[in-house]
Subunit: 205 residues, 2 copies
Amino acid sequence: KISESTIRRLSKYYRSLEQLIARNTDTVSSDQLAEMDGITSAQVRKDLSFFGTFGKRGLGYNTRALKEQIGEILGLSKEWRVAIVGAGNIGKALVNYGEFRKQGFQVHLIMDSDHGKVGQTIQGLTVESTDHLPQLIKKQRIEIAIIAVPSEAAQRVADELMEAGVKAILNFAPISIKAPEGIQVKNENTAIEIEALSYFLTNQG
Amino acid sequence: KISESTIRRLSKYYRSLEQLIARNTDTVSSDQLAEMDGITSAQVRKDLSFFGTFGKRGLGYNTRALKEQIGEILGLSKEWRVAIVGAGNIGKALVNYGEFRKQGFQVHLIMDSDHGKVGQTIQGLTVESTDHLPQLIKKQRIEIAIIAVPSEAAQRVADELMEAGVKAILNFAPISIKAPEGIQVKNENTAIEIEALSYFLTNQG
Ligand SMILES: NC(=O)c1ccc[n+]([C@@H]2O[C@H](COP(=O)([O-])OP(=O)(O)OC[C@H]3O[C@@H](n4cnc5c(N)ncnc54)[C@H](O)[C@@H]3O)[C@@H](O)[C@H]2O)c1
Ligand SMILES: NC(=O)c1ccc[n+]([C@@H]2O[C@H](COP(=O)([O-])OP(=O)(O)OC[C@H]3O[C@@H](n4cnc5c(N)ncnc54)[C@H](O)[C@@H]3O)[C@@H](O)[C@H]2O)c1
């Protein structure tokens, strides 16, 4: 069973490889990849061999082939249909987030429970009402949903999404969403990111 | 040199310990902590011994003592003064993010270059102009800054922040910020989080 940090490293290797390819670099060593991502080359080799990828002695890895392979593992060679629940600050920021589109994640639906927001357009997408969540999720064939509502509404929204057939949820609300086996919930918490900075300032700054 | 993923795990242990303490649990084993965070108990013991923390054979770790110790390591026993540059969707969402305050990160300043936004109040905080960034950063004794502006403005804003004495930056713009030794920049990228979901759907869903 792959750990969360291994998958995260794969996403980082993918981006490092994109940069190398943009500079017309054909091969990369595990040392180089490790340095670009602030980890050990042993970790790089361990991660990649786990997925059956082995570099050539003395040559390293072919950047384009490796990027393609990691892309396959991460599911980036297909387009994913995404819905956002909650058209507030976070929801609006995500409708237009270029990185999502670039990696193949297309927001097809945004919903809110506030009738004052329903009907507004955000980047060409009309805010729909959560009154029709199940129908809209099915009609838009949504595969991944993002929860961007206040904490008190988050679990209920998650339940409705799962009932409508969504199997993967990215949750921004600061609560732990309960979900059965077979449903993947990822909790996004910017406080964890900022703690890496307070760690740095405390131990080195 | 501690890896990014180790620090991230410390933040997760901290939250797991908070939950255990809230349930009046006095001790926890590395197995239990590992299970709560989806990793191996060997990893837990390795992380904690790195910081000189050793559980008692058969008993495990004292939850309150361990949480306090991890809090010290992460720098959570002090209040941090935070500034946000960019009063758009992301900036506004972060002014009010309860998790920041809960962990001791207080937003004292929010700035924007759009004079139409300067003077508006967000959660009681007045949007200031980036024309006065250096003075405001010093006056407010800002320690950590968050960049929530479009990509094209991000590096310039980072340079101004560093020149004003900020040593730690959390960057939301989808570019890699260049910074000298001694300055820590953390790049926040929600696309990496959503890729963990496409990985799941591709390999198990
Ligand atoms: N993970 C992070 O790093 C992070 C950062 C900032 C905010 N947040 C969290 O993200 C969430 C959204 O933050 P925000 O600043 O965008 O809040 P916001 O108040 O601007 O937006 C919330 C939106 O959700 C809608 N809503 C409420 N209940 C709903 C329901 N049952 N169904 C559908 N829509 C509903 C509201 O009408 C509103 O439009 C909050 O839980 C906040 O704590 C997380
Ligand atoms: N990391 C992530 O997961 C993630 C998610 C969504 C958006 N983003 C990024 O975050 C950034 C902000 O997104 P948003 O949706 O809040 O955008 P936004 O357009 O709503 O807000 C940007 C704000 O920055 C201000 N600004 C522009 N140039 C400035 C400068 N030089 N100094 C000060 N302020 C300036 C604008 O006036 C505006 O108020 C963008 O770069 C976006 O790509 C990141």
